[in-house]
Symmetry: C2
């Protein structure tokens, strides 16, 4: 098999067929890579209404044109599918080393189809792929699975492994894919992998990523490295946790199931500064992803007390906040232990922390009896109960484990009694660690993001609260900012770079230049912008085909009806209905939120028109 | 630095001096290697009465002449020191890959001296060694430490790591050294490593082990491989757990702190056959040590229930029995979870299971109040309390953790109230998983073994109960059998081979031939036998110098005074005092159990005479 890139590996686990195909060069130019290209394949190949956990759903692992190159933080790949959590589109991005290694092995992506009869894993080595028995690996946590497959396929390079843990095997709708201890966390991609009885994909390769204009590319990459290194001292020191205090002081820190937005005492305990001084051992021990000058990933070691001897890669801002204040917890150790458990079980910490916070509120309000949840006294701040809940969710054990492992929307449906009013999700995806009521911009982004409540498409909390670019209290300018931000994020998530390495400023300058040098596409700025808009319209169309309309672009009742009790935005509710029509208008979508024929034609998404109209 | 072998690396952590020295060829011939050679160095270099946890104690890692060669199961190294658990000699043997790698890196052994100011690890790569900062690794469990150092020193070979966990760092006297998830478990070598602030030794090497007569050696090794493979189907299928039912049916299975010796129901649940069908996934997934045709090491995966997602290398017969019936536990999952925890914390499962069983008996008898042990209801069969106890011991947390982590002798001293009568140890080392009262031979071996109660110097349970070679009910022939067995075991433990690869039959035939071909020593059978006796007299003399005499060759009160209530040997107590004088006589030792001048002269142990007389 040739080592030339631009190839997709297609593995059908039902028929055991393994084929390789070239990526259509037109498609590559139209959809760039990673998220964009995966959306292209999945829109074309999935039929409307497919059951996400059936063999007919497909699971796509895809890299971008910069993955595995000399560009800074060129580590990313995405896992895409129809989400079993939301029924909508999901792309879940992941760092580490697996994505680059896949390209070194000669493939830009993998499309997994069908369902194996019994557990298998896929091993890929320099252009060759095989389906292998994973009977024994089934049931193993991710840590041992990775270590086991590394040993089994030992070579002169570290074998990179993307795997599910027990949560994915049991098709928990919050299950993640874990690649070398980084997570493609959101939207239940791990459950789809589990439904296909695919335990892991191990990869090793010795090839190089082809670059159209190597000389130019290398010089651009070098410059970008330098800039990133200069900008990222804070990230290197404290990772994403560096913003804990800032989010708390600006009144957006999810506390007790998003009912409040500040908790000063916990913010001190859980600040990046405090983690750095304590569990992160001064912050000098990092485990950076592939080729990353930012180095945000810290290693935590618990040296004293009850949990001594446990270490963890992380936790990140999101995990700290959802496991911390959102569950009434302020112990770094407890959060670290829980993070480690979730990595090993393969379950999304954001969604799980959100769901636990919700059940805690239900328990406190008397909507759930302890008998219904196996006697675990799951109240805000009960550390032991919290850890028990994480454990039970991770291995989908007992009533409580099953309740939590399938997310907050289903938990609210099961509990009933009006609890859906404070079930903090959009389209079924749990809201991450910025309180919606703290700002209209990021709240609108939650409401309309393709995969459900996502803080990264775009991340407007900074613009609203840190940089003074947007006023969090008004609806003004938010529709435009969200639309533009979505396009930009679609480009970043399709490039193969980490979002932390691409500021909005450099998107149409150095990123575009690097992409042109790498691909030879020679996009103009306008063309490039259009790629972003195209991808965003494609995933929106995917959702529309599945029946999602404006009625699903919502926020929880709590966000739109209960005045925020604390913080600078005290008293605020989100006036979503004022923003939505304008948002649809700037997107070129109908009042129902469906991309118009004209917009789709403009974006040359003809194959979408056929399906939608 | 040359890659020629026969070199010792000496690392002084106080002065940071790293030196290399040749092994004296006379010493190598006299003491063979591994245990024997370590005893030679430690006897000569340690002063009488040295505090085991002081910088003046030394810690010796030593391989044997066959370690890392083509001989079957040539994986072993020993960790030797003055034991902080017993105050006596200890050699603790370990399989895996670390020992062979040390030889590939150009060293036969390492002598660690002094104490670092702050935590360090030693990295060895092809003849070069350096002392490095381990500030961050301090506090980490062994699993993450190994993974972290492998990543940090990534090369074309898997870096092999011997490390301590939190138990060793906190100088728990039951702390083990863990090398790639195999344990040098017994006697607290991990505590000595911790006292030196030495977290780990990582090794990688590309050299070959020198062989005097390669052609002859290779042909002998090939033959030995074949024989081992034929003999070991049962071991490959069920590991050491294959004997669970046999030991139970012959009435030697430690049950409820050795108070009973049979538990049929648990024997069914915990038999190798049952593990094989369940957690071991049919038994086909093994993780064999270096170059091993026997492949006794199984991988357990818990797939269902409360503990789903946890996997473990093991557990072995000893762990199964001490954590199982000895603590009133019959759950494979609970034992497996506990085994995994102990590996990660770096604590000896044999000693810990014995000590927990003891405290359970104390609780049941009302000698310990729950307040004294942090409210943990540690009674026979309480699975949750048992796991909590293992966890607390492993990270030396709370009163209970501290009580357990320092072994049964100290626990009995603390609890008092006559509890020492059922504290099951000899010289402070906890008795392993054969009830002493079941047979006079293995009971005598417990009483007189150099490191305290050891089931392997020699293993007479088989001769007494499986093979009909010795009558377990009489004192006859036992002193001779123990003496001969000790010599033989000293040879095996000094050879670098695993004891499972060397039957007593082949000791003076194929093992001797392989050693001669490898070393060029050309031992006669008599000379070789003398080496075994010499080593055994040397470690005995080490103990005598520390003040150990016949008064320490004891068995617990329970073994010599309370008739065994169950099994084929029902009613039996061990008549130790009838056997000891004869044992000393056949050894050529005084009535006090001290090697006579004449014996020492005969064995050419002149440097010992100077110290003892």
């Amino acid at each position: 098999m040739s080592m030339k890139n631009g190839k997709i590996l297609r593995v059908n686990l039902t028929t055991k067929d393994i084929t390789t195909e070239n990526i259509d060069s037109g498609a590559a130019r139209s959809f760039l890579g990673s998220k964009g290209l995966a959306a292209y394949y999945l829109f074309k190949e999935l039929r409307r209404g497919v059951d996400p956990l059936s063999p007919e759903n497909k699971l796509v692992f895809m890299t971008g044109p910069l993955t595995g190159t000399k560009a800074p933080s060129s580590c990313r790949f995405v896992v895409c599918t129809k989400s079993p959590l939301t029924g909508a589109w999901v792309d879940s991005s992941c760092g580490g080393f697996w994505g680059p290694e896949l390209r070194f092995a000669g493939f830009d992506g993998i499309i997994v189809e069908g369902r194996a009869e019994s557990p298998v894993y896929i091993h890929i080595s320099d252009g060759e792929a095989s389906i292998r028995d994973a009977g024994f690996l089934w049931g193993m946590g991710t840590i041992d699975t990775i270590s086991y497959l590394r040993e089994r396929h030992k070579s002169d390079r570290t074998v990179r492994v993307a795997t599910i843990g027990p949560a994915g095997e049991k098709q928990a709708r919050l299950a993640a894919v874990i690649a070398d201890m980084r997570a493609a966390g959101r939207g239940g991609t791990g459950a789809v992998m589990g439904s296909k009885k695919l335990k892991a994909i191990s990869v090793v390769g010795h090839g190089k990523v082809p670059i159209a204009d190597p000389q130019k590319f290398n010089s651009l990459a070098k410059e970008a490295h330098k800039e990133n290194k200069e900008d990222s001292a804070r990230m290197a020191a404290m990772g994403t946790a560096s913003i804990v205090k800032l989010v708390n002081s600006t009144g957006g820190w999810p506390t007790r199931n998003f009912s409040e937005s500040q908790w000063d005492e916990a913010a001190e305990e859980l600040a990046g500064e405090t983690f750095q001084k304590t569990l992160w051992g001064g912050g000098k021990y990092v485990k950076p992803c592939y080729n990353c000058p930012i180095r945000c990933a810290h290693l935590a070691v618990i040296r004293e007390g009850k949990y001594a001897g446990i270490s963890d890669e992380g936790p990140e801002y999101e995990t700290i906040s959802l496991f911390g204040p959102n569950c009434g917890i302020k112990s770094r150790e407890v959060i670290t232990v829980a993070d480690r458990m979730c990595d090993n079980y393969g379950i999304d910490t954001i969604s799980l922390g959100n769901t636990i916070g919700f059940v805690m509120e239900c328990v406190e309000r008397g909507l759930v009896s302890l008998e219904e949840i196996d006697g675990v006294d799951l109240r805000f701040g009960n550390e032991e109960a919290f850890l028990k809940a994480v454990n039970m969710a991770g291995n989908v054990y007992g009533n409580l484990g099953r309740l939590l492992a399938n997310g907050v929307k289903r938990a609210a449906e099961k509990i009933g009694k009006g609890s859906e009013k404070f079930a903090m999700h959009v389209k079924g995806l749990e809201i991450p660690a910025y309180v919606p009521r703290a700002g209209h911009g990021h709240a609108l982004a939650y409401a309309v993001a393709d995969r459900g409540a996502c803080h990264l498409r775009p991340w407007l909390y900074g613009a609203e609260h840190f940089f003074g670019k947007l006023n969090p209290s008004t609806t003004e300018d938010k529709p435009e900012a969200v639309k533009l931000g979505q396009q930009n994020r679609a480009l970043i998530h399709s490039s193969g770079l980490c979002q932390f390495a691409v500021s909005e400023d450099m998107l149409y300058e150095s990123l575009l230049q690097m992409i042109n040098a790498a691909t030879g596409f020679n996009y103009t700025v306008d063309e490039f912008r259009l790629v972003g808009e195209r991808i965003n319209n494609l995933t929106r169309s995917f959702n529309c085909r599945e029946g999602f309309t404006s009625k699903d672009d919502t926020l929880p009742y709590r966000s739109t009806n209960e005045p925020l009790p604390t913080g600078p935005q005290k008293g605020q509710v989100i006036r979503l209905s004022e923003m939505l029509p304008e948002y649809y208008r700037v997107c070129g979508w109908s009042e129902d939120g469906v991309p118009t024929k004209e917009k789709l034609e403009e974006l040359r998404l003809d194959f979408v028109i056929e399906d939608l109209y």
